[in-house]
Symmetry: C2
Subunit: 343 residues, 2 copies
Amino acid sequence: MKRINLKELANLLNLSTSSVSKALRDSHEISEETKKKVREFAVKHNYSPNPYATSLRKKKSKTIAVILPEVADNYFSLAINGIQKVAEARGYHLLIYLSHEKYSIEKAVLEECSNGRVDGVLISISSETTDHSHLQKLVNENIPLVFFDRAPEDFNASKVITNDYDCGYFTAMHLIEDGCTNPVFLSMSSALPICHRRAEGFKAAVLATGIASDPNKLVHYCDGTEEESMKKIQELFESKNRPDGVVASVERLAIQTYMVAQESEINIPKEVKVIAFSTLETAPILNPPLSTITQPAYDTGTKAAELLFQRIEKPLQYTQPECVVLPSIFMERKSCIPKSHFS
Amino acid sequence: MKRINLKELANLLNLSTSSVSKALRDSHEISEETKKKVREFAVKHNYSPNPYATSLRKKKSKTIAVILPEVADNYFSLAINGIQKVAEARGYHLLIYLSHEKYSIEKAVLEECSNGRVDGVLISISSETTDHSHLQKLVNENIPLVFFDRAPEDFNASKVITNDYDCGYFTAMHLIEDGCTNPVFLSMSSALPICHRRAEGFKAAVLATGIASDPNKLVHYCDGTEEESMKKIQELFESKNRPDGVVASVERLAIQTYMVAQESEINIPKEVKVIAFSTLETAPILNPPLSTITQPAYDTGTKAAELLFQRIEKPLQYTQPECVVLPSIFMERKSCIPKSHFS
DNA sequence: CTGAAAGCGCTAACAC
DNA sequence: GTGTTAGCGCTTTCAG
């Protein structure tokens, strides 16, 4: 069964292509009668316009790109859900790209986004990204760009983020109040702004209480492969001054911390208390239930998408970048209860 | 900064558009010298062809659609990863659509896929999908279609699935061997082929051992909203002949089973043993560690994508649909150990 | 080896 | 209220 196009449809109807085109888009120039006839005929012949011809003509693709470091993290799944909801409601299509935390891939993907393929870009930058020229290039091409969650510190574009510093501060305070004297922060990258801000908040809190023996050993970097990261945590847990509190900056590190603790038979929370930045759905049923700083992933996605569409659809109303901060919430569970509460 | 197009580029080079076009695509018709000149010039001016103009001309979009019920399930995240890897390697773009388990949405999305927007479709059908006319329509339009994981039983198209029946059979046998006398199967939909096959295998095993008091009460349907599903499981756990073994057919039901057990203070595995069809990364660190039938999600994604690209790129070699079965593997953990092993 | 011209399918000025 | 025409940016015969 071959697809019918506008010209063929017009011929069959004994009308011009432009009349049919207008009729299908409910133009006021066309009489109700012919509109009706055209619509019925189009449905009968299963006609729908070629989107790329339309895009070419209108210079609008009704498509946006979503660039993520990965999709395995629950956070990004939830964010995609939010983005997708907004996009679907507005009749936009979603092109998904994964940078796999690589700057080089991220850069290549952005090149692809600047040739008219998409009307806008939503991005959460890779952990390797420190240079921003590839992002600047997109902005120079006048393609709307909105960051969500992972945004560069010093880049002039709209973004939707969470209160990382405050939450980092909070986690340290909480661990200390629960009796920790040697808490550490597990970061996945010194370059990644979210980790950096969370770590800064954490450090500030620890230093404020004056319990730190060595301020340079508060933050540990678990970059590299999964295996390297696991090993790093393992070494930390086997070291002579093993931490009695751990803050995992991302979901993956939380899981790895639990894995290592289980293997090494280190009891959480008796020997090590844990708090994780995470949206893990299984947090309440882990062993023990994991205390989390739960980020508003879904809302971050919807908000970022809304900001983007606002810019795309009402470009004249856009004056300057907007920075929206959506707070995370602390969910206290057994992984960080104080000693006095042990049963 | 405005984007440059082919015509402008050609003018600047004092060449015709066709020569420049050919040069950029390394045609043998063009001399090495001019090719070099053109390429350098193109890079310098940051030229890249408008993909929609190319698509329109070539009637190829270098884009495929991936239609999923949801993205929150780990299985689909992993599958997307696999699909994305193959697509990226071949220079294809990925359009993602979520049906949210709704037949109506799935149908609408498929309409969108048959107007030239995509060169092929990968789909995992919704739990509501029983009618296949929308799928047939796509096939009639000659658009390559490959199912992964969730495929209709009786539809003539390529698919990549797992050994659901056998695994269902296995779970029942395993629970019974571990001492269960009243195992049940939690299905998310009677219509969904994967659940159906898993349930059929399960039932066959239970009936084979002759322990079933009421064969009609082996499978419980937890469809509807999250809350309804939770309530169903709760009622099951509070009923007078509470099951002593549960098989969760999908990730969500596994999590809910754990949630309910935790709330109701029902001990897993002492009071109820659990096995879940799931790719949950956190299975080993749940309380207790969850025994899983782990599906080859990533490989299913890559294989399905490969089948699709084979059809797209070598349509003449395609003779008939292929059905690939990738086996799942059983990961035994504490949620289903026999009584004799309790410590 | 290079260029002219047609046309992919559609929309939007502009005529009638 | 309907039709004619030009053209979005590119590729591809076909001529030279």
